[in-house]
Every structure is written in C-alpha cells, then in structure tokens.
Symmetry: C2
Subunit: 234 residues, 2 copies
C-alpha cells in the first residue's frame, strides 16, 4: 500500500495503518542513513524510499538541493512538506511518532544517557573514521567534508583520523566490559549509532578491529543478529 | 539554601523547592558549558556549581577524570551519582525535569527541528570555530582536540576552520532572513547553541561578523538582551 505505513506486529502479521505519506531519502552504503534505516526496521515501518546515489553525486543535483541545500542524506519528508535532515533528528521524530519499541529512552535520565553516548560515539567515532576516509581515499578528493562545498584533503588528518578511530574502539571496549549495552541496560539508539560506526571503521581501517576486543565483539555480534539490523544492513 | 533549587517566578520572587542535590561542573569562558548555563538561567534554577579551570588544565586532574575520563566540561552530577556529560544530553535532561519554559520542543516535529538545527550549528559552526582556534592558538599546542589526549596542531586546519566558520555564519544569515528563529517560531535550544557559537566565532575570528549580516545581527541582539542570557554570559 504505497504511501502508507505497515506496522508489523510481534507475531509477524501486518496491519495497514494509513497515517500519512512520508518519504525517506536514503543511500544504503552510507553510515548516517543506515542508522535511520535500522530505526525504521526496528519499528516495523515501511516508508516509501528514494535512493540518492552519493557515488554519482546525486545529492548535488538541483532537484535534491532545492529540498536540502546542505546536500546530505538521510532526509525525511513529512506529510506537511517539512524536510527533516540530520540522522539524530529524524530518528528522534520516528521514535516519538512510533513509540514501540522505544529506542531513545523512556524517562529523562535514560533519554539523556542515550543522547550522551550517541554524541560521544559520533564526535569520537564517526568524526574519526570520516577524517581517515575522506582525507585518504581518492574517491573523496576535493570533498574532504560532507556536503556540496569543496574541501581539499589534508594528509595529516588521515593519520589523526586513524588514531581517533582506534581510541574510539578502545573506549567502546572498556564500556562494554562493564556494561552489556552502551547507554542503559538495554539496546537503544546509542547502540545503533555506535554499531554503524564500528562497521564503518572496520571497512575504512582495512583491518578487523574485533579480534583484539572481545567485549566489542560480543556486543557487535548480538546487534548484527537482530532481524531488523539484518534487514536494514543486508 | 545550598543543595536545593530555587525556582524564580516571573515576578522575581523565589520559592524553595527541595528536589535533590545535583552539581554542575562549569567553566564560564568555554562555549559548551555556556549553553547549559543559559538553559539553567532560563529555567530560573540555582544549581550548586564547581568551576573546572580549563586554562589550568583542572579537567585533567585525577579527581575530575575519575568522574569523567573524557575530561571535558560541562558535566552534571545527578542525585543518584550518575555523571552526565555532553551539553545536549545535559540540556535535554534539564528540559524534561524542569519543563518550563520549554526549550527543546513540545511535539515530535518541534523536537526534531530543534535537534536538526542544533546539529547543523554544531557540526558546521562549533566544529569550524574549534578547528580554527585549536590549530592556530599557542594555548592549544599539543591539544588540537578537546579531552585529555595529545593531538598536534595542523596549520591547514586553521585555514579550513576559518572558511567553515564564515560559511556557517552565512548559513545563519540566510536562515534568519526567512525566519525569526532558527528551528521553530520561537526561541529554543537551537538558538541558544547557535548564539553561543556566534559569540565564540566573533572572539576567535578576530573580526566582528555581525555588521555584514543584518539578520544575524537582529537575532543576536534579541538573544543577548534576554535576562537569562545576560545573567549566564555576563
């Protein structure tokens, strides 16, 4: 039923709940939209989706930048024509409108801890891997920062990004030694974000960061086995 | 009444509402704790506060890193001994526990737009100014990233940071040409964050970014005139 959302029940059956025609702008290989895609899958939603191929620079075409001058994915178009960008903002919106299962915390302290670990992971992990990738890969020459504007690569940043990425993985290992999950005593959006960054790091580092980190390995395997995560990342 | 919160009413009188002994770790010249200090002031709260002098590297002393290995401010210690770090997480917590006046949005769409503009401002503005400051100032030699770990300065990043900062200010000018406030039709945490970054940019750029940007100037003047902002930044 295009344009509507189908909410899968725990039993696997589906019921159509015609809410409104949202539209999701995605690119499967990219980490940021992958976080939102996992949220959508965990909630059993089916949202009409358009792929914006970043490798073909489709995000820089006028029909996209007219909607989003910042020229990034993900983006969620709401029923009233509002364009939401930034993966945390989109995920927060979906968690409020479709509250089951909760992913961003149920009380002020949980919500704060999810945001806190999300931000730690994003500033230390995501930015670290981005520095390494965008300042070393030929595919990002002249595009060392996301968006439409040109930035030259800085070789010293690739080095720094590698160091930051390894330190981020070590921080996760320490945290997951003392805690089953990152933010609170259950799987939340903080785990989703950090999991996506760990996959991103493994791809960009060129070596598998897991064998030397047993707690990170256990946590990664548990998240990877979730049906929603498999569906969203397969 | 130390250890308690006094909520000032609009009339300026106060009533003691003994809730619990939180503690705020602050450093007034720094942008990140300034955002939280404005939130505290807007809500009329009085929270016991300890200054961590970043210029004296007090954030790297054992008595602080035992509580927060990441060695940054702000930090909020909750009544149950939880240490909340990251300014967005702390501000979100305070907005949920002390809901008046609302600063982070009252419905899912508002909340998402506040988070979206907060993240745009933080990734483009705050990170840009940080790049410029930390890679050009002698005070940050060997500390080109926040936290406890050493990172050498990269001169090319100072250049890039200056460019990012100017483009951020231009983006705010365009947004504030079509909108009185950044995220929604009233003052929110997105405005607080961006305002703090604009003040930070003005200090670091070494020239006043406002005269060439009339809409940014109007918005900045309105926020600067708020009693809570004056109290928190004076």
């Amino acid at each position: 039923m295009p344009g509507c959302y189908r909410l899968a029940t725990a039993q696997g059956s589906t019921k159509s709940t015609a809410i409104r025609p949202m539209k999701f702008y995605d690119f499967r290989p990219s980490p940021s939209p992958t976080k939102v895609r996992i949220v959508i899958a965990e909630k059993g939603l089916s949202i009409p989706t358009e792929s914006i191929n970043l490798r073909e620079l489709e995000q820089q075409r006028a029909e996209y930048t007219e909607k989003h001058p910042g020229a990034t994915v993900p983006m969620l178009e709401l029923d009233d024509g509002t364009y939401l960008t930034e993966s945390l903002a989109i995920s927060h919106y979906l968690d409020r409108v479709f509250p089951e299962p909760n992913l961003l915390g149920t009380d002020p302290k949980e919500q704060a801890l999810v945001l806190m670990w999300h931000d730690i992971a994003t500033f230390e992990g995501y930015l670290g891997v981005q520095e390494l990738l965008r300042n070393s890969s030929g595919a990002f020459q002249g595009r060392a920062l996301p968006g439409i504007l040109p930035y030259e690569q800085i070789p010293a940043l690739a080095e720094r990004g590698r160091k930051r990425t390894e330190l981020f993985l070590d921080k996760l290992e320490r945290r997951l030694h003392s805690s089953d999950h990152l933010a609170v005593g259950r799987y939340t959006y903080a785990d989703i974000a950090a999991y996506v960054y760990v996959r991103f790091a493994a791809r960009v580092l060129g070596n598998d960061p897991l064998p030397a980190r047993p707690h990170l390995s256990r946590w990664t395997a548990e998240i990877a086995a979730r049906p929603a995560v498999r569906a969203a990342t397969g």
